[in-house]
């Protein structure tokens, strides 16, 4: 036992800074959750303020807010996970079929570019298209069709599609490169054997490429599920330009908590929303892990 301890001591010691960081950055602040159950007074501090039970949570459930933001967060992320995977794999396969090395490099770089842009810049690119006054869609496309311009930032209906599209535009290039690197690693002799057997392109993709990509797919999906409740803040806050008319379809738990703290100036209530976020997020991670346990045990988190 002592021998073991001595043997691993350096490793634990090496982990110590990171553990300390986790403790200070991730665990100690959890104590702040207590604010959600307090009638917080700035001058009395956290411990001096009186308890208020669940009173701070009431505003979440007065309107449909809690339901709306939970629904948005989950549905958007499910759509992202599904579409990202399909698109990224498609792109990776297409990329793999390009024979010219130069062009391959060129496409890779071009696909990666959006990922490197800040969401603020992306939001103004979108604004360039959708601006009611000067936007490309209203000014050029709809004008050419002799149709009236729309105030896109007040029409909630189109935003689920806009957001999903923008998200894919940003992220797919990056993901496809990960899949592509797996593709490159597939043994060429599989394909040669398939050629000898007279397999079509489609058959090769279905029976060689996809099965070989499966471990990567599972890992990528798991990673995204674990992060479902880190909804992409920039995407949901910046891209719709924080337009009130769109809150029903663009509010996620993250943006709601942010707006709560910034606008309502009530610390207790915004941390109540934060606690709600953590709870739902925690349950989701447990749920996702349970599913993964059923499908492939070795990939589960715990």
């Amino acid at each position: 036992m002592r021998k073991k301890a001595r043997r691993y001591a350096p490793i634990y010691l090496m982990a110590l800074p990171a553990l300390l960081y986790l403790l200070i950055n991730n665990y100690i602040p959890m104590g702040g959750m207590v604010i959600a159950f307090k009638n917080y007074q700035y001058n009395k501090g956290i411990w001096g303020s009186s308890w208020s039970g669940f009173k701070n949570f009431e505003f979440l459930f007065k309107t449909n807010d809690a339901w709306t933001i939970t629904r948005n967060t989950i549905l958007y992320n499910l759509a992202f996970i599904l579409l990202d995977t399909i698109m990224a794999i498609t792109l990776a396969i297409l990329l793999n079929e390009i024979r010219s090395k130069k062009m391959k490099k060129f496409y890779q770089t071009v696909m990666l570019l959006p990922y490197l842009l800040s969401m603020v810049i992306v939001s103004y690119l979108v604004y360039g298209f959708l601006s009611p006054d000067q936007g490309y869609v209203n000014k050029t496309i709809l004008a050419a069709l002799k149709s009236d311009g729309q105030n896109w930032y007040a029409r909630a209906g189109i935003w689920p599609f806009v957001l999903v599209f923008v998200h894919m535009w940003v992220i797919v290039g990056y993901n496809s490169i990960i899949y592509f690197s797996t593709l490159v690693g597939i043994d060429r002799s599989f394909y040669e054997a398939a050629d000898v057997d007279g397999a079509s392109m489609w058959q090769k993709i279905c029976f060689i490429t996809i099965p070989n990509l499966k471990p990567t797919m599972v890992t990528m999906c798991l990673l995204s599920i674990g992060r479902i409740f880190y909804s992409d803040f920039g995407l949901f806050y910046q891209v719709p330009l924080n337009s009130g008319a769109l809150y029903d379809v663009t509010s996620t738990i993250d943006t709601y908590v942010y707006r709560g703290l910034m606008q309502s100036s009530n610390v207790g209530m915004s941390s109540a929303a934060g606690v709600y976020q953590s709870l739902v997020g925690f349950m989701l991670v447990l749920f996702a892990n349970w599913i993964v346990n059923k499908i492939s045990r070795e990939n589960a988190l715990f």
């Binding site: 800074p17 300390l20 009173k55 930032y153 008319a245």
Partner: protein, 514 residues
């Protein structure tokens, strides 16, 4: 193998130690700051003859005007007040669009803030959460001049639960609602706005405008300035959820968003937006009014008015501005609370803060410095006898380096100079304007929202969702107004109204107001 392990051990120790010392250092600093604070408090208590100069932190607002000379002005302010009150001050000017956020962060953290400008309902929100210091004793001891200047009845409008938490700046304490327009554009296009009196008249002028220049917008605005109709002809009693209609002529709290007047207004705005009279990007744009007007494609906007507003608005926008008064001047607790000074709970030197504030209400040299900048650089005296000043040669509203449009935020601007273009007796006019304005019956009443926090926050979320779109005319009220009203009701606006009515009745009984 062994050597490798030793290397790892050394590295790990090094990393751990450096992480620990990192923490240790910041802890030490924190301690130093704390002991420093005690030292000063003690010395202030014992009233040493050799008083130490303390450093105050002051926060105020701007609307994005050029303020390059701020540092110089700050220097001059410090040179002036150091011998007077043994204090220096750092002037922190924050853009209004992000001010409320900044304040929230400052209050949540334990930053030093000694004097803070507060606007509108922010004061009651902060006071309700214990973020502000009570000022009654400080005022009596170090700010007695302020009480004399502002008067007890006006100061009463800033009481929350019987405690004074804020001191309103001396300016237009009443408010009229106006439509402001660029007179040069009006004349060039021959719109005839000079004869317009009502919204109907203005609409006719817009028709001509739209015909002659379809790219011109009659009403400018942006998403950070809030809605067009936060104020109109009602007394909002701090937050618009439950108001006194018709300028507070009855002590009956009603739902603004279901009132006839409101519906009429937003229907008209929708009509105007559809016809292109309102800037089409109003709900998404973050461009400030001065920049919008610099495009030359904006005709005017709604804002509150007072005897100096034509000059001040002209200065801000850099063009000749005229106004049309749409709602007569009135005074309510909310109009008084528009801008006031507070001493937050995390002030390190509340007594010094009050001494400085007292100077800001009584010392005309300091007032001129804060309002207009440095003589010879930011302004020159045009008429010494009448105290009239203007821009130095070669400077104008576009090229100025100190924002002189913010006088109303700096204590008592009425003891300072007057700006060229205003009447020489404009300060007297202002006092008369305040005194003659129609007074809401609930003037002096402030609403304590602490019993309806949840309802207020829920309503504020609903408001954020709909109000900008509806009041700017970009959403069709026929479809969205019922939804807005419905969601407000489920958020509990009726509870807030009932609570307001209850508090108002109690207040009226206690002050024998009928």
């Amino acid at each position: 193998m062994k050597r490798k392990r030793i290397a790892a051990l050394v590295m790990a120790t090094f990393m751990a130690v450096s992480a620990l010392t990192g923490c240790g250092q910041s802890g030490e600093n924190g301690q130093k700051a704390e002991t420093g604070e005690e030292d000063v408090k003690e010395s202030a208590d014992s009233e040493d003859a050799q008083e130490e100069t303390v450093q105050l932190e002051l926060y105020a607002i701007s609307f994005g005007g050029n303020n390059d000379s701020l540092e110089k002005v700050n220097q001059a302010v410090n040179d002036y007040i150091r011998p007077l009150i043994h204090a220096e001050v750092k002037l922190n000017i924050v853009n209004f669009g992000s001010y409320a956020q900044q304040v929230n962060l400052m209050m949540s953290g334990d930053e030093q803030v000694d004097l803070m400008l507060s606007t509108g309902s922010l004061t009651s929100t902060l006071a309700g959460q214990g973020a502000l210091s009570g000022l009654d004793e400080l005022l009596a001891e170090y700010g007695s001049d302020i009480i004399g200047i502002m008067g007890e009845d006006v100061l009463a409008s800033c009481k929350y639960g019987g405690v004074t938490y804020a001191v309103p700046t001396n300016r237009d304490l009443a408010r009229s609602m106006c439509y402001y327009y660029r007179d040069d554009i009006n004349q060039e296009l021959g719109l005839g706005l000079e004869n317009a009196k009502t919204l109907d008249d203005i609409e006719k002028c817009f028709e001509i405008m739209h015909e002659k220049d379809p790219d011109m917008a009659g009403i400018a605005g942006n998403s950070t300035m809030g809605c067009l109709f936060q104020y109109w002809d009602w007394d909002p009693i701090s937050n618009n959820y439950g108001v006194l209609l018709d300028l507070g002529s009855e002590l009956k709290v009603e739902n603004l968003y279901e009132s006839e007047g409101y519906v009429e207004l937003v229907e008209r705005m929708y009509d105007w937006y559809q016809k292109g009279y309102i800037y089409q990007e109003i709900t998404t744009s973050t461009v400030s009014n001065p920049d919008l007007f610099a495009t030359g494609k904006m005709l005017g906007y709604f804002a509150n008015g007072n005897p100096t507003s034509d000059t001040s608005q002209s200065q801000m926008l850099g063009g000749p501005i005229r106004h049309i008064e749409l709602v007569e001047p009135y005074m309510s607790s909310s109009t008084v609370q528009t801008a006031c000074w507070t001493v937050p709970h995390n002030s390190r030197y509340p007594q010094k803060a009050m001494e400085l504030l007292n100077l800001m209400y009584t010392d005309s040299y300091l007032v001129n410095l804060l309002c207009y900048g440095i003589e010879g650089e930011n302004y020159v005296i045009k008429d010494a006898e009448q105290g009239m000043i203007g821009y130095p040669d070669g400077q104008d509203a576009q090229s100025r380096t100190y924002d002189n449009t913010l006088g109303w935020t700096w204590g008592n601007m009425l003891i300072g100079y007057t700006w060229e273009g205003d009447d020489p007796d404009v300060h007297e006019q202002m006092t008369a304007f305040n005194n003659s304005a129609r007074r809401s019956k609930a003037l002096g009443f402030t609403f304590d929202p602490s019993n309806v926090q949840n309802e207020t926050t829920a309503c504020a979320n609903v408001f954020a969702k709909y109000a900008m779109g509806i009041e700017s005319g970009s959403l069709d009220p026929a479809q969205t107004l019922p939804k807005f009203q419905e969601e407000l009701r489920s958020a509990g606006i009726d509870t807030i109204i009932a609570e307001k009515q209850r508090q108002l009745d109690e207040w009226a009984a206690a002050n024998s107001v009928k």
